[in-house]
């Protein structure tokens, strides 16, 4: 479903974020990408949704080169992938309800679908009583849960979460990972990028370790994963 073929990314400040990455993620997998800060985890996500372009190599989604997509295809690609960003990337002028409903509006859902699905998802992430609040009125954990609600509202084929436990206490982290595990059990491909050992311990499935832009390990979950 997702394929990185000999992908390298060199930023303008001569920082080599990714170095000849070959990686394939199959449909329905739960993949945890681990590594220290600056290992290249976020760059990997950015390349897949074409927020960044690789310096070398090709990125494929569902067999199609992401690099060769036109504007319309890029919009469609981003609609098929739900991303939970490290800095949340919420719409500050929209309420909790509005932030989630916006994604459904983008894919052209009807008003009745929006009215039916948004409250349900907000219930799942525990924000049912915050629908009229604005992002600046939420705590870090609530913002994170809102970002997850927004990423999964339109039932994308892939959910990618970049440091989903960032700035969260262990209790909230456990909550977030539980939600991601549930989404995975419903058949969605989940990719989590993290440097948090607690998160790794709570997830099942494949773990890919990155170090200085290279894959140093690609294995199935062991409880005491070291990177």
């Amino acid at each position: 479903m997702i394929k990185f073929d000999q992908v390298s990314k060199l930023y303008s400040n001569s920082c080599l974020a990714l170095d000849n990455i070959n990686l394939e993620i199959k449909q329905g997998e739960f993949v945890t990408i681990v590594g220290k800060s600056g290992a290249g985890k976020t760059t990997l996500i950015k390349l897949l949704i074409r927020e960044e372009l690789p310096t070398e190599g090709q990125v494929y989604f569902d067999g199609q080169s992401v690099l060769e997509m036109n504007r319309r295809q890029i919009c469609q690609l981003r609609q098929r992938i739900g991303v939970v960003y490290q800095d949340y990337k919420l719409l500050p002028q929209q309420t909790v309800y509005g932030n989630v409903a916006y994604v459904l509006s983008v894919i052209g859902a009807s008003d009745s679908e929006i009215e039916r699905d948004v409250p349900r998802v907000l219930e799942i992430v525990g924000l049912a009583d915050k629908t009229d609040d604005f992002p600046h009125q939420l705590s870090g954990g609530e913002k994170q849960r809102l970002a997850i609600a927004r990423a999964l509202i339109h039932q994308p084929e892939v959910i990618m979460a970049d440091e989903p436990s960032g700035n969260l206490d262990p209790y909230n982290t456990w909550d977030i990972i539980e939600v991601l595990n549930k989404i995975h059990q419903m058949g969605t491909t989940v990719v989590v990028a993290t440097h948090d050992k607690d998160v790794i311990a709570q997830t099942e499935g494949r773990v890919i370790a990155l170090n200085q832009g290279r894959i140093i390990r690609d294995d199935y979950q062991t409880r005491n994963f070291v990177f």
Binding site: I49, E51, R78, Q79, L90, Q93
Partner: protein, 307 residues
């Protein structure tokens, strides 16, 4: 398909309106900036009416007189008047016959109480004035043409045409008024361009503040149209409020200023001028404000969509 387009349009309008309400501070700054532009354009519109009235009054005072030989009947002068009207048509703004008696009466009215002129008249003993045609024209070059026409075609009964004595004055008046008109047009254009640029910049600043929002919209897969249209609607709503604000200021201000303006420029009724041109003024204000809101937000958002 049509239904989904309508739904999309409804959402864009709703997002635009919601954004306008929620971004209160920046929305009202945009409203005020557009209002300044529209106010200036409206004021220039009214000033144009005022300056035109002043120019017309000055030009109306410029005229030439064709004097006829003593004993020329008024009916003969009427024939010449009709001939001039036929020949020069609408270019003649005003033409009237002044009989010797009327000329004398005007003279007496003007120098009433001045014994020197009274005595001079008594010494002459009879009415010294000649019958004349007072002619006012719209263009300065026509005065020479009319004077030449009269001397060529009616020399038999013509005594003199006093154009050549007034030639310099007439040309100076027309040159000055035409220079004032040009200066007005150029100053208005420059000022309008300047304030439009200021409006563009301030709207660009408010869109710049929303750049991370635009970035997020792109990342969740929104199309360019779906991103920019609500901002454009927001800009147009700001424009509409700005036009409304200016109308609410201009109308009562014109009503209350009319007596003062009339005392400065007799014959120019500001409220009447406004009433006569209200459709144009409203069209300029509303269309101008909507267009300014539309184009400035479109260009500003486009900049961030390209990145």
């Amino acid at each position: 398909m049509i239904m989904s387009r309508l739904t999309s349009l409804k959402r864009v309008l709703l997002f635009g309106w919601t954004n306008f309400k929620r971004a209160r501070e920046s929305s009202w700054i945009t409203v005020l900036v557009i209002a300044v532009v529209i106010f200036l354009v409206s004021a220039l519109f009214l000033l144009n009416g005022l300056s035109q009235a002043v120019i017309n009054q000055v030009q109306e005072r410029v005229s030439i007189a064709a004097y006829f030989q003593r004993g020329t009947a008024v009916s003969e002068i009427a024939v010449i008047r009709d001939d001039l009207k036929d020949h020069f048509g609408d270019q003649i703004q005003d033409i009237k016959i002044v009989s010797p008696e009327e000329a004398l009466s005007h003279f007496l009215d003007r120098y009433r109480g001045d014994p020197l002129y009274q005595r001079a008249l008594e010494q002459v003993g009879e009415n010294p004035f000649l019958a004349s045609l007072d002619i006012t024209l719209g263009e300065v070059h026509l005065y020479a043409e009319v004077a030449d026409y009269l001397t060529q075609h009616h020399a038999d009964i013509l005594s003199k045409v006093d154009y050549h004595h007034r030639e310099d004055v007439i040309e100076r008046v027309f040159n000055t008024t035409s220079r004032i008109q040009w200066f007005g047009v150029v100053a208005a254009l420059l000022l309008t361009v300047l304030v439009v640029l200021i409006a563009f910049s301030s709207i660009r600043v408010s869109i710049h503040a929303a750049r991370s929002e635009i970035e997020t919209m792109k990342l969740v897969g929104a199309s360019s149209w779906f991103i920019k249209a609500p901002f454009v609607v927001q800009g147009m709503v700001s424009g509409l409020f700005a036009a409304l604000l200016v109308i609410l200021i201009i109308l009562p201000a014109s009503y209350f200023l009319t007596p003062s303006v009339e005392s400065l420029v007799p014959g120019f009724n500001l409220w009447e001028y406004l009433s006569e041109n209200i459709v144009w003024l409203l069209a300029i204000q509303i269309i101008g404000a909507l267009f300014l809101g539309f184009i400035s937000t479109l260009l500003a958002v486009q900049r961030y969509l390209k990145k």
